[in-house]
């Protein structure tokens, strides 16, 4: 097969069958280029959280499609997304992941820019021609035109004429709301703690894995087994949290049967009933939880508190790049680099107004789940890389996603299935085809 050719719209449609996907969706650099143009270049993409650019001049560096961008806070409090490129001769401007500065300076010929991208000063102004206009946007750091925030979450799109953000997010705003509602002060803050891991595999593999509740029993059996054999409450530094987390990947029949998978429009999916049937249930004797619940009741009343805490949704995948877990204040962001290289940025939130110990648990959760030395995520990454190695060969072109095909149900909000179904991946690929074949606006 010639991998150099750009697939046509019809070919892309043929990559996705009801129960199968063609390997080129993962292994073809040309398909990746189209994904950058049509998915990451046209949809609303989550970039950063407002708490990362709290004060005027604060900036955070990340990626939007194939571009490096800076999310900035201007002196008037407005948030901007700027291409990290000097308009003079094109130099990459900012070389750090985050910081604060009232002016962004290009080190090459010392043009300097305000946090909204406008040009502040150029040295030796007198030698520029009459026609050189400091106010002309051509001389400014290029702005991403459409930036929108939903309850602290900053999204941007390169689409000139985007559909409304809320339309794209659909029902998934519920989980962003729920995360904020879990804070006694109604707001969350992204903590300084974060890990960035690179794996040698396609970006979609991470989202599929996050929607795949069938794998933990097999992939995580080494840490489940080790945790099961370890004595309870032996550690003095984490109230047994690490051991319990490791053990929780080994599902019993009861938990297995309780979990429900949900698939929505635009590729969003989540799992529910994850904790209620015994996977990491909150214990009533836990003094930290007790204090925290009291704070919530004081802030919102009893009814609302029960409603907030009973939202039992795990691995909420906001397609195409976010995985949110509100119960434990965790987030993972998928950042595609090439068809076979992806960054995963893992972070956790502080619930404003909650006890410090709640936050310490979120930090601990982050390390245990997804540090580079994690006893959990390292085995996931290993599998993602093995899948990519397999898919890079073309002796058998089809990937199977048929599990559950005949028994999935649909209700008025979307697809519903039991834990064993590969419905979430089918939902992701349905959205993928729609986005990849849609006419440009």
């Amino acid at each position: 097969m010639d991998m150099q050719e750009i697939p046509t719209t019809d070919e892309i449609r043929d990559f996705v069958r009801p129960h199968q996907v063609h390997r080129r969706a993962y292994a073809d650099p040309e398909v990746f280029k189209l994904e950058m143009e049509r998915i990451f270049g046209r949809m609303w993409i989550y970039l950063a959280h407002e708490s990362q650019v709290k004060e005027p001049g604060a900036f955070f560096r990340t990626r939007l499609a194939q571009y490096e961008v800076l999310v900035t806070r201007h002196t008037d409090g407005e948030i901007y997304v700027l291409h990290n490129r000097c308009p003079h001769r094109g130099a990459r401007m900012c070389m750090v992941d985050k910081g604060k500065s009232q002016l962004l300076n290009c080190p090459y010929h010392a043009w300097s820019f305000r946090p909204d991208g406008t040009l502040s000063t150029v040295p030796h102004k007198q030698s520029y021609p009459e026609s050189f206009d400091m106010a002309d946007p051509i001389n400014h750091m290029q702005r991403v035109k459409h930036v929108q925030t939903y309850r602290g979450f900053i999204f941007a799109t390169l689409n000139e004429d985007p559909a409304p953000l809320l339309e794209q997010l659909g029902e998934m705003t519920d989980i962003i709301d729920n995360l904020n509602d879990r804070a006694p002060e109604g707001e969350v803050e992204l903590s300084e703690s974060s890990f960035t891991l690179e794996y040698k595999g396609n970006w979609k593999l991470h989202l599929e894995n996050a929607a795949d509740i069938f794998h933990p029993t097999f992939v995580h059996s080494s840490s489940v087994g080790a945790a099961r054999r370890a004595p309870q409450n032996a550690s003095k530094i984490d109230s047994d949290q690490t051991r319990v987390m490791l053990e929780a990947n080994g599902f019993g029949v009861q938990q297995w049967e309780g979990i429900q998978l949900k698939g929505l429009a635009n590729g969003h999916t989540y799992m529910s009933n994850f904790y209620s049937k015994g996977v990491m249930v909150d214990s009533d004797e836990d003094p930290v939880m007790a204090e925290y619940k009291q704070q919530l009741v004081a802030a919102y009343g009893k009814e609302k508190t029960i409603e907030t805490l009973s939202v039992d949704r795990f691995n909420n995948i906001i397609y195409p790049n976010m995985v949110l877990n509100a119960q434990h204040q965790q987030m993972r962001i998928t950042i595609p680099l090439s068809h076979d290289r992806t960054l995963v940025r893992v972070q956790c939130f502080r619930l404003k107004g909650a006890p410090d110990a709640m936050y310490h648990r979120a930090v601990r959760f982050l390390s245990t789940l997804a540090s580079p030395a994690s006893m959990i995520f390292s085995d996931d990454v290993e599998m993602l890389e093995r899948v990519q190695v397999g898919l890079d060969r073309d002796d058998s072109p089809w990937v199977d996603f048929s599990r559950g095909l005949d028994i999935d149900q649909t209700d008025d909000t979307g697809a519903v299935s039991g834990v064993a179904s590969e419905m979430p991946m089918r939902v992701q690929f349905k959205a993928w085809v729609e986005m990849m074949t849609r006419e440009a606006a």
Binding site: S191, E192, S193, S194, F195, T196, L197, E198, V219, S221, S222, S223, G225, A226, A227, R229, A230, P231, A234, S235, K236, I237, D238, T242, R243, L246, L343, C348, D356, Y359, H360, V363, R364, L366, S367, S371, P372, A373, M375, S378, D379, V381, E382, M383
Partner: protein
């Protein structure tokens, strides 16, 4: 060993730790730690707080023993095949405190090889050691990677 200086006694102890890791004797490696001993690999350069800032590893003996158990577990995917390693220590400095605790720090280089891929890790280690007989037990081992805070590869065998 009784005629050894504290410097050479600590060196012998650290070299032994490195050898146990290289030879895959993780059970014996774990026993170098005091029951309340902690292994700490911060995620950020100069990190001082293991509670409010996530660490790559912040584990005491009971959690470390789960980690070691997993090293033995045949199904640990990321450890299949088992990486082979060379741990090298250098620039060892030793200081005996008035509190009876011996503090040591050194630089390290660790080469890990697995499935035809070779990775290099480097950084600084610092120790708080409790003298026991003519040897020590580890109260605290801190590992600061040169690339802490950057994009990191998976870390399997400890340094």
């Amino acid at each position: 060993m009784l005629d050894m200086t504290p410097q050479s006694r600590v060196e012998a102890f650290l070299f032994r730790e490195a050898r146990l890791l290289d030879t895959g004797d993780f059970a014996a490696w774990l026993e170098l730690y005091a029951p309340e001993g902690v292994y700490w690999m911060p995620s950020q350069p100069g990190q001082t707080d293991p509670l409010n800032v996530a660490s790559i590893i912040y584990e005491d003996y009971p959690i470390l023993s789960i980690r070691v158990q997993r090293l033995f577990e045949a199904r640990a995917l990321v450890l299949t095949p088992m990486p082979s390693t060379t741990h090298m220590l250098s620039n060892i400095e030793v200081e005996e405190g008035d509190d009876g605790i011996v503090r040591a720090n050194c630089t390290f280089l660790c080469i890990q090889y697995q499935s035809s891929e070779q990775k290099t890790f480097a950084g600084r280690q610092s120790f708080e050691l409790e003298p026991v007989g003519d040897s020590y037990r580890i109260l605290l081992k801190r590992v600061d990677l040169v690339n802490a805070g950057g994009t990191l590869p998976l870390i399997t065998i400890p340094f």
